[in-house]
């Protein structure tokens, strides 16, 4: 009685191990089922999802114009103090003073990609870019100014 139980245990155990090994061997011989991406080598063909939140950028058109009015909605919406809007006063051709952005400082090192600033923006001036390779050798390089030098606001954006 004891012997039959013992043999049953041993055969059952061996069978369960063989089942697992069969699965492992299956993948050893079926290379098409492997889905690993060879990341640094496939940079040229790698396509990120279009909603992927990589970093905040400010799109400019070909005339070097952006849509930012300097309303600081993004600065208020940001939970980490990532964005600082520095405003200046432009003189319009009619001689009036008009508020505009001097620079929009973006601290990538503080950003958690929560997307709240992009949602808060009333004029769609900023958006999320799909870049994700952000490592640099110096921390100060992570502080970016989003508007291009010499850029100004697009016509008709209030």
């Amino acid at each position: 009685m004891f012997l039959t139980d013992y043999i049953k245990d041993v055969t059952g155990a061996l069978k369960s191990l063989a089942t697992g090994m069969k699965r492992t061997l299956y993948y050893f011989t079926h290379h098409k089922e492997i889905i690993t991406e060879q990341y640094p080598d496939n940079r040229a063909t790698l396509v990120m999802a279009d909603r992927f939140k990589g970093e905040v950028v400010m799109p400019h058109d070909e005339k070097n114009e952006h849509r930012c009015t300097g309303c600081t909605a993004c600065e208020l919406a940001c939970p980490n103090g990532t964005i600082k809007v520095v405003t200046k006063f432009d003189i319009t051709p009619e001689g009036k003073k008009k508020k505009a952005i001097d620079k929009l400082v973006y601290h990538l090192e503080l950003c958690t990609m929560c997307n709240l600033c992009v949602q808060a923006c009333p004029s769609d001036a900023i958006k999320m870019a799909q870049t994700f390779e952000h490592s640099v050798f110096d921390r100060s390089k992570l502080t970016k100014i989003l508007n291009n030098p010499g850029s100004k606001i697009m016509e008709g954006v209030e």
Partner: protein, 380 residues
Amino acid sequence: MYRETEILQQTSPGIIGETGEFTINVGPQHPATHGVLHLVITLSGETIKKVEPHLGYIHRSIEKMCESLNYRQFIYVTSRMDYLSAHINNHACALCVEKGLQIEVPPRAQVIRILMDELTRVASHELWWGAMAMDLGAFTPFFHAFRERESINEIMEETCGARLTMNYIAPGGVVQDLHPDFQRRVKEFLKLYKRKIHEYDELVTGNIIFQNRMKGIGMLSAKDAISYGVTGPAARGSNVSSDIRKIQPYEIYDKLEFDEVLETGCDSFARYMVRIREMQQSIRIIEQLIDNIPEGDFQAKTKAVLKLPKGEFYTRVETARGELGVYIVSEGGTTPYRIKFRSPGFSNLSVLDHIARGSKIGDLVAMMGTLDLVIPDIDR
């Protein structure tokens, strides 16, 4: 001040005292603790006499941080608590704010939220399954689990814009509408999952070494599970009904067909089986909803600045690890006066000492694995 040596002397005078007991440290940096959990274990030979968790290595004071953030901003911080069910954490917070403001969430948003919740739950359990097998020395299952998890992560990346800390929920609904490809991708995932799920049983569940290391280890009776406040799969393995989706349904969970998974084994293997079967229930929920997403708005109309009325609000949801409660005290301002999170990991960790006493040191990692501890959730 906090001194390691003083604590060691208090817990056991002399490293090896007169009784022959000695103390060892597991963690805070240890491959089996899945994070910075520090366990001070008192041993007598190989037998565990006492397990003392030391917390606080990854405490970021999320509750205090939330007091300075407004009701739209504080939701994103909670992704960092239990990062494996980040979406469900966000869901709990949004539900609490909506309860205070009495916002009616559109049906489309409710369905989207539940779909994402269940996808998150499957992804979380899959990671747990891989890590659990790795704790016991099997390395291959980890890669098998991550294959399925990867396809969920891709769905998340496409619709929410991030793989782990989604921040897809805003008070009143969800941030963006579903990606046009969402339904097709989820159906592909369901097909893949059904084709591969039998591998889980072949590789791990039926394995004799695994079964011998899990059965009869870490016994937790139903009475103890209730008195320690254990929730989630850990409690359901001891036949304690604790599924918030059934007890106190939120969103449209009361209209969905799914079973609360209960096991009567009370041991590590029962807790393991609960999670394996719970994945299939989540798949069942996704199958019911994926073709029936109602049309309409994905977000209710809300004011730009949210102000909760004066009072106290509490909601609870079922995360992949158990019951998550969000308690907000509002003074009527734009920021909460006080926030408290009742995290499942903290209560589940408290029972570790109870179930580990008297068993062998080699089984400790198996017991810890079945409790599915996420350390940032414990410390917050």
